[in-house]
Symmetry: C2
Subunit: 208 residues, 2 copies
DNA sequence: AAATATACTTAACAGTGTTAAGTATTGTGT
DNA sequence: ACACAATACTTAACACTGTTAAGTATATTT
């Protein structure tokens, strides 16, 4: 039993080593430069060794994606202290923008790339837990906003999609470099925050 | 002069043949199955012939992208007849959703993939004309809405980004298959339209 | 000490974008 | 009509990619 645990730990260690190397490459050089052989070279193993720890490249990318969701959850730790649900919603959107701008490679993988979803499709429990959790948190806040009469009533799913869509849309356009030629680089971040602010204010039905 | 024109036409013909074949593959089988050799096989030419008509794959994808923008512009022909600018804005959003749902491969290429923007970066006149035009049309309508006191005043760029972001976000999440596990497939389209409707109504400051 | 399981590697397959060099075919000038 | 040159295209190759089958040491168990 002890030996088995030790073995498992050693296995886990190399698995983590692979993920760390993969992370380093795709954060520093982009997803297009992330190849199995590249990772293998970095950690001085043969390329095929990686297939002893991951079914295929999609599997590896999916795991990286999950790490991304962990990091994203972390930056939302500052939400609980905010009483006003609309303010909390606003902050959540700002966190989302911050995350996307600071970790574009993660964001691309989590929401734009096909690989993680292709991996998900092959899994037994094919629920998208990470996405589900993040969306559930958003919906909770929206429910609060509606209960306190701060935003117009409506189907929670519909409102959640609209709000998620907005912040995702902004980040996504940025990550996919669609802003570069349209908005001055130095003003992108500010424009995004002001867009979110405009949305929140438009949605706010208090004091009107 | 006549012969030269004839030659040019013949050149254009093969160029179009390549684009047609490329279009067929990536619409029917997805971008990941679109390879230079695949196109070449379809039109019974060698792979290298394609490089006589396009600098590289990015160039080819950029041209396909431009075709996508043409098609997108077409479906906005129904806007001019709508007097109320807020209604026109709403319809423009619905058109955007319709386009994205009916041509996911085009949409992916136009707004998510890196290739077209990488091509653009290598070009002399590196303005993103297509994106610029589409955004300009959106801004025009927003200006009208503000002038007629239909939506809250604010920086045009900021508002345009917020609205474009919203519809793009919805489509993008769909095209990248992030809705599949979260929203029932049969309800996705309806949810998207209702999200847009909710946004428009939230933004509408008439009769409040 | 023999058998077996573990951890890893080598070699290979089929595919990718891309380039250099070569080959017909066609058009032009004398 | 003949030589020259431009045009249109192909063959072969390079350096990659993900992935798999088969082989090899090493360590563990019996």
């Amino acid at each position: 039993m002890v030996t088995k645990t030790r073995k498992t730990n050693r296995k886990e260690e190399l698995r983590d080593l692979i993920l760390d190397a993969a992370l380093k490459v795709f954060v520093e050089e982009g997803l297009e430069h992330l190849s199995i052989r590249r990772i293998a070279d970095m950690i001085s193993y043969s390329a095929t060794t990686i297939y002893l720890y991951f079914n295929d490249k999609n599997h590896l990318l999916f795991e990286l994606c999950e790490l991304g969701f962990l990091r994203m959850a972390e930056i939302n730790n500052n939400l609980s202290s905010i009483q006003n649900p609309l303010e909390r919603l606003h902050r959540m959107g700002e966190n989302y923008i911050t995350f996307g701008m600071e970790h574009p490679a993660y964001y691309d993988l989590m929401f734009n790339q096909a690989a993680p979803m292709e991996r998900l499709a092959t899994m037994d429990n094919s629920e998208w837990d990470s996405g589900d959790k993040a969306l559930a948190q958003l919906k909770e806040i929206i429910v609060e906003c509606i209960e306190q009469g701060m935003i117009r009533k409506g189907d929670i799913d519909v409102i959640a999609m609209a709000i998620w869509g907005t912040v995702h849309g902004l980040i996504s356009l940025r990550v996919c470099k669609r802003f570069d030629k349209l908005v001055d680089a130095s003003e992108v971040l500010q424009t995004m925050h002001r867009s979110l602010e405009w949305l929140i204010q438009s949605v706010d039905i208090t004091e009107k």
